[in-house]
């Protein structure tokens, strides 16, 4: 399945793009997809604890990605 991965803030600057599509097998977790992201975007290679979201809600690394999900990775937030 194709999953579109969104980046924000410093991660977006590092990736140089707002989003990248990945082809992933069923059962892929957020953590596994993040490793794929890091291989594709070496500038994110040192980021060991990104925040993760599925369908615009925070999710844990072990969460499995379902078809059609919107996935995002980003650094610690600093609004306010």
């Amino acid at each position: 399945m194709t999953i579109r991965v969104w980046f924000f803030a410093r991660f977006r600057e590092a990736a140089g793009v707002t989003a990248i599509d990945f082809e992933v097998p069923p059962g892929t977790t957020l953590a596994a997809l993040w490793e794929m992201v890091q291989r594709r975007v070496p500038a994110l290679g040192q980021e060991s604890h990104p925040l993760m979201a599925i369908n615009q809600a925070y999710a844990r690394p072990e969460e499995v990605i379902t078809p059609g999900s919107e996935v995002a990775y980003f650094p610690k937030v600093s609004g306010g």
Partner: protein, 158 residues
């Protein structure tokens, strides 16, 4: 100026327009409310010892909008008052400009003050919004309590 009590509901908004704190207070005002607590976050001229000139706020807008709505809904349940409003600004803000306002009203002051403090804490902890700092020492991404120099931006390019 004030909403009818029956029309007061939790409110949240995220966008580039300047924030009208008075309009948020009017949203939460009602004849049964004896207390209104308001918090305004303002861009200040220093951070971690650095001189700051401006901040640029960006967000995962769809998710941040959801998170802000969740926060005010949860505050309404938690503090027993529907009169909770929050607005967060995006884009470039100069020193002295307001980045976020929370307004909370209740029958008594304790609930209004507690709700106001809780909402701003939650916004800062949970809303996927980021500050990029431009100042005399360069450009920095602020990340939680820390910060790191933006890539490709040497010192002093603020």
């Amino acid at each position: 100026m004030s909403a009818d009590a029956t029309t007061i509901a939790p409110y949240s908004h995220l966008g580039p327009e300047p924030i009208d704190a008075r309009a948020l207070e009017a949203r939460v005002s009602g004849p049964g409310h004896g207390a209104i607590a308001t918090f305004a976050g303002v861009v200040r001229d220093h951070h971690e010892g650095r001189r700051v000139r401006r901040l640029e706020y960006t967000a995962y807008e769809d998710m941040a909008g959801r998170v802000l709505a969740e926060i005010v809904d949860e505050a309404a349940r938690r503090f027993g008052t529907p009169a909770i409003a929050v607005q967060h600004r995006l884009g470039a803000l100069q020193v002295g400009e307001t980045s976020v306002v929370v307004a909370a009203a209740a029958v008594h002051r304790r609930e209004a003050l507690a709700a106001c403090a809780w909402v701003i804490d939650e916004v800062k902890a949970r809303a996927p919004i980021w500050k990029k700092e431009f100042g005399d020492d360069g450009v920095f991404w602020i990340e939680g309590p820390g910060s790191c120099r933006a890539s490709g931006t040497p010192a002093g390019t603020g």
